[in-house]
Symmetry: D2
Subunit: 140 residues, 4 copies
């Protein structure tokens, strides 16, 4: 079951309250706290371009998308901010197209640490990168 739009809207407002995030066009496409998943879309703009004219996403933009998607998947179920402890990104293919969607799935939300998997697909449904993040889950 997907959450009500109001939950996604609140998370979207929180997402946009960051100068770094404002560099990019990112949208919380869906959030499902029962399934512990969240989808974050990144639209292609010149801000994410690897090299002028290539139409390819920069790896740093993809890494940021992964980190943020994992973070917000935990924020959605815990209700408070969770600092990233570490994360890993594996790039599988050059990424291009109108948008990328990062789907974050919480694998474990423990007392002190949470672990999230993030798959990134292009708009043709090709898997372009995968991430795995570890976050601190204790409330501030």
């Amino acid at each position: 079951m997907t959450d009500t739009d109001s939950h996604a809207s609140r998370l979207q407002a929180q997402l946009e309250d960051s100068p770094f995030h404002q560099l990019f066009q990112m949208t919380i496409a869906s959030v499902d706290t029962a399934a512990q998943t969240l989808a974050l879309r990144l639209d292609f703009t010149s801000a994410v371009e690897r090299q002028a004219g290539t139409g390819q996403y920069h790896g740093g933009a993809i890494a940021s998308l992964i980190d943020i998607a994992g973070d917000y998947a935990l924020i959605a179920i815990l209700g408070h901010g969770v600092p990233t402890i570490n994360f890993r990104v594996d790039y599988l293919r050059p990424a291009s197209g109108a948008a990328l969607v990062a789907t974050a799935t919480v694998r474990r939300a423990g007392r002190t640490v949470g672990v999230v998997d993030i798959d990134v697909e292009d708009d043709a449904g090709r898997l372009v990168a995968i991430g795995r993040g570890c976050y601190g889950t204790q409330a501030g």
Copy 2:
């Protein structure tokens, strides 16, 4: 022995030829192909801020800095582009201050794969994050 300024200048020009990089103020502070190290500085601007008013660097900006520093450490010694295969970032402390410097050290530049360690320090010399990247080293 640090390389001549002309080598750093050529790498700097290459660095700036990317719309994504142009979001940030990044400077190749030094390059030493004998020691296989490269230092990349990221100045604090609102583009890297995690949340307005905090003065803290966003984790995504730090991850990008790490990936780029590791990439250019290999580019400096190989002379051609090297795609990132995967990388890991560990965040050790919240990062603030006027600039961060990422120092990348090549641990192994093999025939197909290169591995680079990247330490990120703030301007007080505190270690704020560490990265480890694996790059494809075969020429195009």
Copy 3:
């Protein structure tokens, strides 16, 4: 579709042709080259025990299980040995019980590099650890 038993048998024989593997009781439980998955079971014996009397698996045994499962998932579809380039293990819970099963799923088998995800469950179906490995896929 699961492969014929003869494929699993051949891989099992190859698995046992290693002094390190012979320390443990590991069995290729299933292999499905169409789905690009392979399941490797590790039985509890004193060889894997973390500390005498705890009945818990040592993290090193779990890491080895993950690396080997990922490796054999690629061997099963490529037909030749694939060296591990790097891998990551996240431990989610203390692991105990009669056996662990590592299910490896190939996420990408590229020309030079393959990436595999490995989930480890105990015999109650609890997820105890997850791994992600990157392997060199070029034939010798």
Copy 4:
């Protein structure tokens, strides 16, 4: 300054109190709590051999060595057990020879999390693998 032999001896006794560790010949070669480093040696025996007759160390044995060295580097300075949260291993070269030495250096020992780097060299001083581990530092 290296610690007194009695500190290394106490850690060695603790190390050997594990059925999994007893499979291998591992020795705490040195411990320096001021520098926050610890060296752990693994002697070549058939238990660590990748494939009979190769004389090469199995990646799982090297991964275990890395995890244990990182763990004990934190145990040495904190005085209590620290569970592994996650770790990464990068293999740089096939490893052979009479012994490997893993040198673990604590990069950060925080209130909840510690991060340790581990370099593994063969007896000719060649770097064969590097690890990075993240451990929970809160006392039980």
